[in-house]
């Protein structure tokens, strides 16, 4: 760096007070300052040269001897510096001071920069900012006034600032996501769980365990939203809830009936079990709380946590929604599509997806009787459906041994893979890993949505067939329920490393859990706000607004006639003054309303009649006839 030394500012002396002039009036100012002043002063048009303008009157005569020795006289003048001149001088002084200040600042900045090699704000990579941007950029089209466009520009600035600030908070995150890199020439596919367990630290190695429960049939598994508690339900009636990290048992009960599905409700305090005939709700101590006879022969259940809705699909093709917080059935539809045993929810917009034996996948919301979306995905039956966390990709697998990845924004197929046998179960992890259970084998694919995948990321062989799969939230763990029990597998890079404690906290205390429950209930979204686009509430209801404006315009031009109405006075104080007036008002309003309705109807029919008449009469050549007013 070259030394850019700035000289300190030195004030120039100003001592010009007198001009020395020769007898003939020719200017002879020798003073340096005056010369500078001449340089800086702006030349006005038609202004006299400085010297002439200056002097007023000679004060005295001074004689001096020249170098030749001649005697010369000199007139000494007192300069009357006029007001404008004084002002100009002041201005220049200010200018010089400002320049001095600037130089000082520059010097300071230079000194600072010498110590700080990266001045200014830290740069943020664009992808990170894009992650935190929501929605499209505000486009300034259609504003007619400058004020309007300025407002929009300000709003856009605020949104960008918010996105940047959110991107900066990433520096505060504690944990980093897991990963697995194979050696050169090796593939991650060949790495077994035992290898992994041997290499990682003790706490992580403990996450790979197996529970041998051969007696009570294939197990369905479910983790709570914060990934702390695990619920297992064996088909032969064994239901158990454990804290899988500490291996502490919450409850264990045998319900003495076939158990089709088990699901945690909003917290680890309650869970629902779909039994042979009806659905039951149990406490975390195994105490039966409710028996829901409305939900009969349920095969699959899904809990929508932000709406407190339990969606259940039964063997007779009936889909029903129950509001768990108030215990009411919100909606129930007979889908007419046969036995429903493939079900999945879209975590980003709470739409329930069902897969059918004809190869179609339908999407439902509690408001509508018909499915919102109906897609033909496979040529034969759909075996399982899974939807990614952000709600962008859907994976379906069919009996025809294909696995297809669909884009849920455009409903187009992205990839299609051929697999050795139909994947009976599928699950997406928080980081986008896809786990498939095909018979005895569990395969995990990495990045299957955005690009074509050649080989699985990890694979594991079990001793019995897989019944259900779920990734544990916020952990690098995959829980597999199979015919002889439960296995927990380590999948590096599956879980979200940094949880948000205000959303779901795996380390929450009892007090925090209680508060969280209250907050969740206060924020419960009503079921009629479930749409394909979850942010529809924020958008302008253009259609509704248009309709109201049109209605207003229709009514404006109707003048109701004056109403005459005399109420009948009842005897003996029954008709009090106030009541009489109210009655009169009410009757007049009613009559007005009737008249307005009739007038509107008349107007509409009148218009139509006019139009019809217009078309009937008249020749093609009528337009050339002279109009007679």
């Amino acid at each position: 760096m070259e030394a850019n030394v700035t000289k300190p500012f030195v004030k120039k002396k100003q001592n010009m007070k007198r001009y020395f002039m020769e007898g003939d009036g020719k200017e002879l100012s020798t003073n340096k300052a005056s010369k500078d002043m001449k340089k800086h002063s702006p030349e006005k048009k038609g202004s006299k040269p400085i010297g002439e303008k200056r002097f007023k009157k000679p004060i005295k005569m001074r004689t001096y001897s020249d170098k030749d020795g001649q005697q010369k006289t000199q007139q000494v003048f007192k300069i009357d510096i006029s007001k404008t001149e004084r002002h100009r001088k002041w201005q220049m002084k200010k200018q010089r001071q400002a320049q001095g200040e600037q130089r000082k600042l520059q010097h300071r900045k230079h000194m600072r920069e010498q110590q700080d090699p990266f001045p200014g704000d830290a740069p943020i990579p664009k992808e990170r900012i894009q992650k935190y941007e929501r929605g499209e950029h505000i486009k300034d089209t259609g504003t007619r006034t400058g004020q309007g466009s300025r407002k929009l520009a300000e709003q856009e600035k605020k949104l960008q600032f918010a996105a940047r600030q959110a991107a900066r908070t990433e520096i505060l995150l504690h944990e980093e996501a897991g990963f697995l890199e194979a050696d050169e020439g090796e593939d991650t596919t060949s790495i077994t769980q035992h290898d992994l367990a041997g290499v990682v630290d003790i706490t992580s190695a403990q996450k790979f365990f197996e529970l041998k429960l051969p007696d009570f049939g294939p197990y369905s598994v479910n983790y709570t939203r914060n990934g702390r508690f695990l619920l297992m339900g064996g088909v032969k009636g064994h239901v158990a809830a454990i804290d899988w990290m500490t291996k502490k048992l919450l409850c264990e009960v045998n319900v003495m009936e076939t158990v089709n599905d088990v699901k945690w409700l909003h917290q680890e305090t309650m869970f629902a079990v779909a039994q042979r005939q009806w659905t039951y709700m149990y406490d975390n101590q195994g105490i039966e709380l409710h028996c829901l006879k409305k939900l009969d022969c349920v095969l699959r259940m899904e809990f929508l946590p932000f709406h407190f809705l339990l969606a259940s699909a039964n063997s007779k093709g009936y889909l029903s929604y129950i509001d768990v917080s108030i215990g009411e059935k919100v909606a129930g539809y007979s889908t007419q599509m046969g036995r429903l045993d493939v079900m999945c929810q879209n975590p980003s917009n709470a739409i329930v997806t069902l897969g059918h034996s004809g190869g179609t996948v339908t999407m439902w919301c509690p408001k509508l009787k018909e499915p919102v979306v109906k897609m033909l995905c496979h040529q034969s039956g759909v075996r399982s459906v899974a939807i990614e966390q952000a709600g962008q990709y859907m994976a379906t697998s069919g009996i025809d041994r294909t696995l297809k990845i669909w884009d849920l924004r455009t409903y187009k197929m992205l990839h299609s893979y051929k697999v050795p046998m139909g994947a009976g179960q599928m699950a997406f992890s928080q980081q986008g890993l896809l786990a498939t259970g095909m018979g005895n084998i569990v395969q995990v694919y990495k990045d299957s949505c955005r690009q074509e995948v050649k080989a699985p990321y990890l694979t594991h062989n079990l001793t019995s067939s897989v019944r259900s799969l779920q990734f544990c939230p916020y952990e690098d763990v995959l829980g597999v329920g199979h015919s002889t029990g439960f296995s927990s597998l380590i999948i590096p890079g599956a879980g979200e490393a940094n949880f948000d404690a205000l959303e779901s906290n795996p380390y929450q205390t009892k007090q925090q859990r209680k508060e969280a429950e209250v907050k969740m209930l206060l924020e419960k979204i009503p079921s009629d706000m479930i749409h394909l686009d979850s942010s529809m509430i924020v958008q302008v209801d253009k259609k509704g607004l248009q309709e109201t404006i049109e209605e207003h315009n229709k009514i404006k031009y109707l003048k109701p006639q004056k109403m005459e109405y005399e109420p009948r006075y009842k005897a003996k104080g029954k008709s009090r003054g106030q009541k009489v007036v109210q009655q009169k008002k009410g009757v007049i309003e009613e009559q007005k309303r009737e008249i307005i309705k009739e007038a509107l109807v008349e107007k509409q029919t009148g218009n139509r009649a006019k139009e019809v008449n217009k078309h009937r009469q008249g020749n093609v050549l009528d337009r050339f006839k002279r109009k007679v007013d």
């Binding site: 995150l173 504690h174 706490t203 690098d476 404690a501 924020v538």
Partner: protein
């Protein structure tokens, strides 16, 4: 092979002792926060509903007057002192904290038409239908000296009185607008424009030499104390009952009109109002601004008080009680927390300016 499996140390996420606060790690990634828009909508809805649940604006009433309350004056330095004048000529000083009357005097023979405080807080001025202006001294506790300091006699009935904040002079209005100085027995200056009575007069709190008044010929007049003639006049469709200057914007004032509306004008351009505030269902009788200049309160013949934002056309709040009759005078307290309304049934009521605010009362 390189492996890293996510393993959290519980010590980083659990608090050490019971006296610590809980650790709350945050992650602002949008994928971890689904349903942002509906949840925010529900939260906003709940907050509004709760605000209405906790809206209990009425604090208390000051009763003691034997006739309807005609005017109120705020003490310039003491928040808990209030002076009120009624239709029987009585002037009372109230202590708002205990809601009691400190002292009362029979100030005038007829109505107490106008009441204002002298800015240094040592005295206040009253004017009445008995054509007098009297200055009363008030001590720190709020006791009025029963003998007026100064009595000024006029030729005609005075309708209202107001004191300038920057000059040692006050103005009265009636048949004409007079500017007085305290030590002079005759008005220093008189303004007339036409033959109609001016029934409201207010000094601008910022440009302290400017006055505005409302006259019976449906007009609003602007005067400059230093000039010899009135400045401007604008005529509306119906008569204006009261006027209030915005304490934060030097040139904005609001008038309360008979046609159920309030009009906000810019003094520099009287041809069009800046805003029309519509919500009352009967004539608006009085208006007063909040000390922040962002809102004002209006009292009307329809027994209600309404609070309007300064730039909106409709009110944000309405206060009414079965027992409160025509609201003749309203005031907004100088700490921006309370409203005072004087009404025809001889009561002065104290309200909260923001109905769901927790004030510890």
């Amino acid at each position: 092979m390189k492996v890293k499996v996510l393993s959290r140390n519980p010590d980083n996420y659990l608090r050490e002792t019971k006296r610590d606060i809980h650790k709350v790690p945050r992650n602002y990634d949008p994928t971890l926060h689904p349903f942002e828009a509906p949840r925010e909508y529900i939260r906003a809805l709940n907050a509004t509903k709760l605000e209405r649940v906790f809206a209990k604006p009425f604090i208390g009433s000051l009763d003691g007057h034997r006739d309807g309350v005609n005017c109120l004056a705020k003490h310039p330095h003491q928040l808990s002192t209030l002076v009120s004048g009624s239709y029987d000529g009585e002037v009372k000083v109230w202590d708002l904290t205990r809601r009691e009357c400190i002292s009362s005097i029979q100030a005038h023979d007829g109505f107490v038409q106008g009441l204002c405080a002298v800015p240094d807080g040592s005295s206040f001025l009253t004017c009445g239908t008995d054509k007098t202006v009297k200055q009363w001294s008030i001590n720190e506790e709020g006791r009025i000296n029963p003998e007026p300091v100064v009595t000024l006699l006029g030729k005609t009935v005075f309708q209202q009185i107001d004191h300038s904040l920057g000059h040692n002079s006050f103005a009265t209005c009636g048949e004409q607008v007079d500017i007085w100085e305290v030590d002079r027995a005759e008005p220093v200056r008189s303004f007339t424009w036409g033959v109609d009575t001016v029934h409201a007069i207010k000094f601008n709190p910022i440009e302290t030499h400017i006055l505005a008044g409302c006259a019976v010929d449906r007009s609003i007049l602007l005067y400059d104390m230093r000039g010899s003639a009135p400045l401007r006049k604008v005529i509306l469709k119906l008569k204006s009952n009261a006027l209030a200057w915005n304490p934060m914007e030097a040139f904005i004032f609001t008038v309360a009109n008979e046609d159920y509306n309030l009009y906000t004008f810019d003094m520099r351009k009287l041809s069009m109002p800046l805003n029309i505030h519509k919500d009352h269902i009967s004539a608006v009788l009085d208006v007063d601004y909040s000390p922040t200049g962002k809102e004002f309160v209006s009292g009307s013949f329809d027994k209600t008080l309404r609070i309007f934002p300064y730039d909106k056309g409709h009110s944000r709040e309405v206060y009414h009680t079965k027992r409160m009759q025509r609201v003749s005078v309203v005031k907004w307290s100088l700490d921006n927390k309370y409203l005072l309304s004087g009404s025809m049934e001889m009561n002065i009521r104290v309200w909260k300016a923001r109905a769901s605010e927790k004030l510890g009362i």
